[in-house]
Subunit: 785 residues, 2 copies
């Protein structure tokens, strides 16, 4: 049947795809751009109470007493809950359906005997409105015995003070991996060895919409409805069911729009556990909407880490070995278990290079700061460390950094390639994307310009990075994705997807793919999402999986209907199914003008005249399917190249050009792909230059507003230029994930560009962020005459 | 596989059904009995406006002008819409997916040039609250030229005045059928002929919840959400899409609970059309909740009809022929097209009797009264007319009415039986149910008691009726029903059904059937319903189809999952699928103690470890299926027997015993079956004795509150006694419909009992309702000494 999906998974509708691959305008935009998105704070329920957390003002301390009487005396204040009320109701404090069961770290919904970071939730106030609840929270008197805090994670392992006394140590986990010592001989015999200790500062996702939740429990039916700002509504439902011991089928999680997640909203945190626990006690719906200060205080931090990294090279600059000893800070209450991410840093450290030997160790420690959460490419430190080290190596060896990479990058004829730390890459194009990015820049021309500028006392630099990332993970709940499609009796199409819209354009992706398979107009397709009642379990937005997994689910589901439509049309038109083509909402007999039937007529027959259907074709035009990933990982690669000018006096950095060449397989919608890359890249730039979730030495956060927590704005970032190399994945449509990459590639590209600009001063950059102050300090005053 | 459904459709779970057939307590009850049902009036949306209709105070008139300025001047009044605003937006005024396209009767959403009944909607006021809207509605000045009204439907065909001038006649439709004259020879040659003209008064459904709708249109997304009191959410969606020209997939219809429908809420009426039309103009959500007066004024009437009926008998009382000439009133704006129902009256008139020859004609006329709507067994006049006629015949022939029926009722060995008017009955038990009901009464003992009572001056009577009714119609959209079942990752089960809960216990039915097929506990199953987004199209509650069609959909869907669970269990336990039994949420290997796996474990494997599933088994445990009815009609039969005492002085009737013996096939839940029978029977008793939607000669309704519209209460009705004969239908589980029967059988049983009681006075009853006044008038004063 020519109408079916082609072997590579791309659909040929009447011989050509119509929408997939084109720059269809986002169907979400009319809603979102006119301010009609529906976020958690837009949910208003009759009788709803408003929740505000009382949070710890000390980083480490003992709770000696809590007096809520003044708060409760305020008219309109309904409840003040503490750990004594809520924590005993916890049935299961940890659950994740992803991967094997993880060791548990503690998760009291509210702080019990001790507080462990500034922002630790201590009590939960419910009142008739938010203002009252805020006022009442200030009246809750908590008596703390303040204790010395563990703030410097690099000394946490040796500290006397313990973040969790019951744990017996501040070390959460240590992975032996393969210690650097095992490669001692390789390093000893190498022509050149480069070593650095590279530090990345704490920063975090800062989504436009903070976290938030409305819980609405019906005592009479035992049903709990949760409106959440989330990346994974089904995961919330599953978690809540385990937490409360409530049957999963009595819980419904809803979202319409979520204003970004980036990993911060992929798993349930303690604040949200507390909300779930009060649902049955409040006697009314309860809304909690995190404000910005709370988000910066308590929604979690990421990226706080360093590593000792080394590489050995032969005389031609070919890599002989790579070694990383990684230490990361997971704060007081990490979500999820952070050791897995640490392992990924080590295992991915060799990157898309021909590295014959490698080693890694990883250590994760507790501190009295906000808990570590996932953040777009949570393992991205491996790229930062490797790419910065490569530039340092090139400088030390007197080799051009592009040439050093060119010699070592994997060629497609070497694939699949098993790196020494256990990762096997395939279907990637590291060298091709790298060369494309350099060509887009005109690398030689830039070097010439740079030389002229230096003569004029201006310091330009070029930085590059390459990486290979795992997307679309095929393990645990991530391995499958569900969709339901109903061609309604009028011929219009509703597509139900398990995930939700977090700004990732998933609705646009869905209508493009569906319209192509079904041969209907894009306007005739709508997406219904973000409701655990409308599809089976789906793991949501995480691991750069939404696009490609949803593509698989939609393709499999739509293909069932396509074949059924063709069978009905063939029967009606007295033609062979293989002669039917399905284009523009009409099934026609190929080569027989006028012999056709509309999709609306097919639907009316399927629903209202079932006895006239051909044998074996069921009534209705509706199908559900669950796609299972063909592989455990889909590899994606890219090269970032950027140029900048650095003012050596002020340390100010101006980015000049920013180029990303990536291989995410065929693009369902180039505008969406570019939007994903741009978003991640800008976050990566922010991480390199600006963002810092800093604490003072007593553990007091010093960046709790956007005055202190600096975000990149449009003026900080040049127009990003995109290159595209297309290699088919083994998955549906050949698609690969593209959600996280920008945030992985950008920091080292920026660091390397700045270091390149400041190379005349002998600057070596090993610590982020590149604040003006830190850069200016790299330039000896005497060098400026 | 022993696990599959058995041939007759009943499921054997491990050898025995567990829940189907038992008196499980209704799962709806905790919610409904504690006042936690969610009806339309419970929907409160931010910024919602409240709608009130301005309705005509005259039965027939011309609108000379409408002045809304005083209403609009009230602060908080937002809009006053008239026909000029709304009616031009109508794209398609009629749509029903049931059966062939019907001829159209007019349906202006708001009255345009003319008003045609008292209550005709003329304008729609939207204001910030209901009080304001009510006040404003009174300030809308409508100038009417009052015209003579057509009120007496028996003279409508000849009236000068026309309800719809464009129609050219007050006759909506006339079916020739086979005129009585064709049987003239049979009647002429018969040993006995009985003839009557039997009248039934207008009465109606009066559901506990009136009609109501909240419309919520988003201009930015083009999406319309409708919360409705309805029997058929998908039908509303489809209708609205045609009415507004909106794509069906942009409309979502929601209901949680609906407080009864009985036919009144099965199709969209004009008031609801007006609401849909204002949705896009209001700029805010709009709620309309019908109050009781409005419901009695404008939600529609039913049953207003009479017929000339005759039967011819041979000397032994065997029926030779039956003839009915039926005339019915369809008011000004019938919904749906009323001629189809008239045809059913004629075609079903021979009933479950061995009638060799029959004829019918049917005439339907317009009047200036509320439009005719469906009401529980809309064709039930055929039973009323036939059964009253049979009692009159028995009296005339001096034969016991039970004996007359016994001689004529169809025996099972005569089935299938094609009646002369085109209906072929099968799988019914008219004689068996009749004999069972008489035995439950102890008919002979009652006759003896009656005789003794008469001697004591007390007038007891016994009345009986039998009927066969079509249920579960298999045409148009009624022919199929959809369900989706998801066994969630925790092993808990959600069942999604297309219909909605209108008080018909459908949720209980669903969990019973699903738990049996899946071998899980009933507590582990929840039903999600009343949301057009959660399943494909379903025709809703109508035609006594909910139970049996949903049974088919649930069975087909659950069986898919059952087989998949068994396949996974067999694979895990290394056993043959045929050795797996699925009982009490556990799959076990028959005969191997300890070899078992829980449903939760099966689900966790299916969702989170898809690569370990046996070949060919898809990931996840979720399925959707659409059941198509095996037959165009499932026949149900019953016998009603009741006894009463009538006070010959006051005309007061006291019902003494009430017995129903029915054959609805196997009972999914006897309590639910009895509830359905009781509800219908009480409505039938009300129709016989009390309820009268009366109009004066100018067309003014005289019963617009419950002070004047009399409903039966608990004190009017004895405890109903139930008998059950079980004949399998050809459909799933052998189930038959049971929703409407009570309302069909009760009126003639009551009439016959009262007539029997008053037989000593020579009373002949041919007109309902049996008011005390009308009954007292049948007793000659002199007869009372």
């Amino acid at each position: 049947m020519t109408a079916a999906a082609t072997g590579d998974g791309r659909v040929e509708a009447g011989g050509a795809t119509r929408y997939a691959g084109t720059r269809i305008g986002r169907v979400e935009d009319p809603r979102l751009l006119t301010g009609r998105g529906t976020y958690v704070d837009d949910i208003r329920l009759p009788g709803m109470l408003h929740a505000v957390f009382v949070r710890s003002p000390v980083a480490r301390g003992r709770i000696l007493g809590i007096d809520a009487s003044a708060a409760l005396a305020l008219p309109g204040v309904r409840h003040v809950f503490t750990a004594a009320d809520l924590n005993p109701d916890v049935r299961e404090q940890w659950h994740t359906s992803v991967g094997p069961k993880s060791p548990e770290t503690p998760r009291p919904p509210l702080a019990d005997t001790d507080v462990r970071f500034v922002g630790d939730p201590v009590a939960l106030v419910l009142a008739d409105d938010r203002y009252l609840a805020e006022d009442a929270a200030e009246l809750v008197e908590v008596d703390y015995e303040q204790l010395p805090a563990v703030v410097d994670y690099t000394r946490a392992a040796q500290a006397q003070e313990l973040v969790h006394e019951a744990h017996g140590s501040n070390v959460v986990g240590q992975l032996a991996g393969r210690p650097a010592a095992t490669l001692a001989d390789v390093f000893a015999g190498a022509a050149h060895v480069v070593t650095d200790t590279i530090h990345q500062q704490a920063h975090t996702a800062v989504p436009m919409e903070g976290r938030g939740m409305v819980v609405d429990y019906s005592a009479s039916t035992g049903e709990l409805t949760i409106h959440a700002a989330t990346q994974a509504p089904h995961e919330i439902r599953l978690f809540c069911s385990r937490l409360l011991g409530l049957p999963e089928h009595r819980i419904r999680v809803l979202m319409r729009d979520t204003g970004g997640g980036f990993g911060q909203k992929v798993m349930v945190q303690r604040d949200e556990m507390a909300l779930m626990l009060v649902a049955r006690r409040a006697g009314a719906p309860v809304k909690w909407v995190e404000d910005r200060r709370e988000n910066l205080l308590a929604a979690g931090m990421s990226r706080h880490e360093h590593a000792d990294v080394s590489m050995a090279f032969d005389p031609d600059g070919l890599i002989l070995a790579a070694s990383i000893d990684f230490v990361s800070d997971c704060g007081a209450y990490p979500t999820p278990w952070p050791v897995g991410t640490s392992a990924a840093v080590g295992m991915l450290f060799p990157g898309p290079y021909r590295v014959p030997a490698a080693s890694f160790t990883a250590t994760t420690v507790y501190t009295n700061t906000a808990g570590r959460v996932a953040y777009r490419g949570p393992w991205q430190f491996e790229t930062l460390a490797r790419e910065v080290l490569l530039d340092n190596a090139a400088r030390e060896m007197g080799m051009d950094p592009a040439e050093l990479r060119r010699r070592n990058l994997l060629r497609t004829d070497e694939l699949p390639f098993a790196n020494p730390n256990g990762m096997t890459y395939d279907r990637i194009t590291p060298l091709e994307t790298f060369e494309q990015a350099l060509e887009m820049l005109d690398y030689d021309a830039f070097r010439a310009e740079q030389a002229r500028a230096r003569e004029a006392g201006r310091y330009l630099g070029v930085g590059m990075s390459t990486y290979v990332e795992p997307s679309t993970p095929g393990y645990g709940s991530y391995a499958t994705e569900a969709a339901t499609i109903r061609i309604e009796p009028s011929g219009k199409v509703n597509v139900y997807i398990a995930g939700g819209s977090t700004g990732n354009s998933i609705e646009t992706t869905v209508v493009q793919l569906t319209a192509d398979v079904l041969g209907v107009a894009i306007e005739d397709v709508a997406t219904i999402q973000g409701d655990t009642a409308v599809t089976g379990f789906g793991a949501g937005t995480a691991g750069s999986r939404s696009g490609s997994m949803t593509a698989g689910a939609v393709r499999d589901t739509a293909t069932i209907l396509r074949e059924r439509m063709i069978a009905i049309a063939a029967h009606k038109l007295e033609a062979a199914p293989e002669d039917i083509e399905l284009v523009r909402s009409r099934a026609s007999v190929r080569g027989v003008p006028g012999a056709s039937v509309t999709v609306a007529e097919l639907a009316a027959t399927a629903y209202f005249d079932p006895y006239s259907l051909p044998p074996g074709v069921p009534a209705g035009l509706e199908a559900s399917a669950r796609y299972t990933a063909e592989t455990r990982s889909v590899w994606v690669n890219a090269a970032h190249v950027c140029t900048c000018e650095v003012d050596p006096v002020t340390g100010g950095v101006t980015l000049l050009r920013y180029i990303v060449s990536e291989d995410c397989g065929p693009m369902i919608n180039p505008s969406v792909v570019e939007g994903q890359i741009a978003g991640g890249t800008v976050q990566g730039i922010g991480g390199a230059l600006l963002e810092h979730l800093a604490y003072d030495e007593d553990g007091n956060p010093t960046a709790t507003t956007f005055v202190d927590y600096l975000l990149p704005t449009a003026t900080d970032v040049p127009v990003i230029e995109y290159g595209h190399i297309e290699t088919m994945s083994g998955g549906p449509g050949g698609y690969k994930g593209v959600g996280e990459g920008g945030a992985i590639g950008a920091p080292p590209a920026v660091v390397n560009a700045v270091a390149d600009a400041l190379a005349p001063f002998g600057a070596r950059i090993t610590r982020l962020p590149l604040t003006p102050e830190s850069l200016a300090a790299l330039v000896p005053p005497e060098a400026l005459r």
